[in-house]
């Protein structure tokens, strides 16, 4: 055997020596092809994040500078009512709008899945808000929630004079009005993603459930829903990016009001970077916002790594 190996080796000059060390093939083209991604990931996002952190320790005003002031910006940030309220709002908005989107989106998807004749029409109706600029649709929502112009007065004029529906006028409820607007805007996409997920579920599961005599709603809830992990995850990530960046819709609907009841971290960041000319403060806020995202992604990586390790062990 070994003799053969030798002869064969010598027969092919230039093909190395025995034992030849494994060499990973390195694909240049793959790197060339992803240069835009590398530049974006490293050149934009990483650099941005690093500089955001650096500038958050400076007293940068209109333009970034490097006059370090320690944790001053963070101290101010966390002693600011507005920031604290914004953070609270982000959670309220995030939780309610994501849950609302998912639940409503799933319901819509389920109902759309009932061999609806006018599926095309309904789908377009549910999707169109995503295409509209929030600058004005926010205004229209504001009108509709206006106690004197909108739904409340229209219903009152119909005779139900006790009817109260003006969420945006009160500090306590305004955020839910925004949530409603957010759901209006985004639920169509969620519906589309979940509908696609529903359609991807093995038809035989349905048959099995029917034979078992499981009512349709239970099938949807307990059997099909848990099978749609991919779709749910996609919809969830899309919504999370939307929630963290939520800006336009709040500006359009409430301008952060009444008072500062519907302020959001992104508005805080953006205002400070631009009009309030306090880049240091804005960057401190931005860096703070990124921390939970970093934590989640790190957790994800850790879980993946752990799962891989476990698999390798097995």
């Amino acid at each position: 055997m070994s003799q053969f190996a030798q002869s064969s080796e010598t027969a092919v000059p230039g093909n190395g020596h025995h034992p030849r060390k494994a060499r990973r093939r390195f694909n240049l083209m793959s790197i060339v092809g992803t240069i835009p991604m590398i530049l974006t990931a490293v050149g934009v996002f990483v650099i941005c994040i690093i500089f955001s952190f650096i500038w958050s320790f400076t007293n940068s005003k209109l333009f970034p500078n490097f006059n370090f002031v320690g944790f001053d910006q963070y101290t101010r940030l966390w002693s600011s009512d507005r920031w604290n309220i914004s953070v609270g709002n982000l959670f309220t908005f995030g939780i309610f709008s994501i849950i609302g989107n998912m639940v409503f989106g799933y319901l819509l998807a389920v109902f759309m899945d009932q061999r609806i004749k006018q599926e095309d029409m309904f789908r377009s109706i549910f999707l169109y808000p995503f295409a509209m600029s929030l600058v004005v649709t926010g205004l229209v929502w504001q009108w509709m929630f206006d106690p004197n112009l909108g739904i409340q007065s229209a219903v009152q004029k119909l005779g139900w004079t006790d009817f109260q529906f003006a969420p945006l006028t009160s500090q306590a409820t305004a955020i839910y009005g925004v949530v409603l607007g957010g759901i209006w805007n985004g639920v169509g996409v969620t519906m589309a993603i979940l509908l696609a997920g529903l359609r991807g579920v093995d038809a035989e599961i349905w048959k099995a459930a029917k034979i078992d005599g499981i009512p349709a709603w239970r099938t949807y809830l307990f059997i099909v829903l848990p099978m749609m992990r991919g779709a749910i995850l996609t919809a969830f990530i899309l919504q999370c990016t939307g929630v963290v960046r939520v800006y336009d819709i709040v500006i359009a609907m409430t301008q952060g009001g009444p008072g500062i009841a519907t302020q959001m971290p992104a508005i805080y960041v953006i205002q400070h970077i631009t009009d309030r000319a306090n880049v240091g403060q804005g960057m401190a806020a931005a860096s703070t916002m990124l921390l939970p995202v970093i934590a989640v992604i790190a957790l994800q990586f850790a879980l993946q790594w752990n799962a891989k390790r476990k698999r390798n062990k097995a």
């Binding site: 390195f26 083209m29 793959s30 790197i31 092809g33 992803t34 835009p36 991604m37 974006t40 990931a41 050149g43 934009v44 996002f45 990483v46 941005c48 994040i49 500089f51 955001s52 109902f111 759309m112 009932q114 609806i116 789908r123 109706i125 999707l127 995503f130 295409a131 509209m132 600029s133 600058v135 004005v136 205004l139 229209v140 509709m144 004197n148 112009l149 209006w184 169509g188 993603i193 696609a196 997920g197 529903l198 359609r199 991807g200 038809a203 349905w206 048959k207 459930a209 029917k210 749609m228 779709a231 996609t234 990016t241 963290v244 960046r245 960041v269 804005g282 931005a286 990124l290 995202v293």
Partner: protein, 306 residues
Amino acid sequence: MTSETMSVSNGTKGAIEPRGAKPKKLTAARIGVYAFLVISALFFLMPLYVMIVTSLKGLPEIRLGLLFNLPQEITFEPWLKAWDTACTGRDCNGLKPGFINSLKITLISVPISIVVAMLNGYALSFWKYKGSELLFGILIFGAFVPYQVVIYPLIIGLREVGLFGTLPGIVIVHTIFGMPILTLLFRNFFASLPPELFKAARVDGAGFWQIFFQIMLPMSVPIAIVAVILQTTGIWNDFLFGTVFAGRENMPMTVQLNNIVTTTTGVREYNVNMAATILTAAVPLTVYFISGKWFVRGIAAGAVKG
């Protein structure tokens, strides 16, 4: 198949022997389904309805504050004004001039950003290299960064390469910000393709680019439609990047829309605002109505897997 589950049997059974097709009956469940959908549809359409009727009213009628009433006197004046004569600063040409710019930006940015994201997804699925997963992680992370935070380095970067305030500049910016979600989309799609396809092409001697252009690109039409829809909407409605990066000559339509709609110290013409909004949304809306069907199919084609 799934949709049968909601159909409910009627009561005929036992001794009587039914013949022929199952009698079609409008059951309570069926009515409930439609009721839910119709009510939801009303919820979704309400703002559009308000916008449309408002855009057809004169200002005095709007001041009456009867939001849901149909216009007593229909006027198309606001639409003409929004399109043609509304002033946005010194110029009074309505939305018209920006339309071409928006079209230009969208038509160039959408394909480029999609091809770039497609390449990323392709490389991340089939040509992984050391660190490629990390890059992807950073990219996904970038999806959570507020745009404004990223603007300063971008401005400086583009200034250094001399592309600030130019059409290529704005295209690059849209490509960058579209990249995270689109790359995720395409990566998931390619990951759902059979790896044998890639292997077969490798055996056939095709390299990175040949496999991409001749095999993967034509196959990714369904998911590309999803990407087109998302990107068209995003780019068409973009205001922030347009004002900063596009340069004066390329200001998108949304700048004009915003100029019409936002007044600090001046009279608001709500009817014109509404008409302008609907006009501005016309392009993405058309895209939605034409390709809505493909949207769901495209997502089903792979975006939801993994």
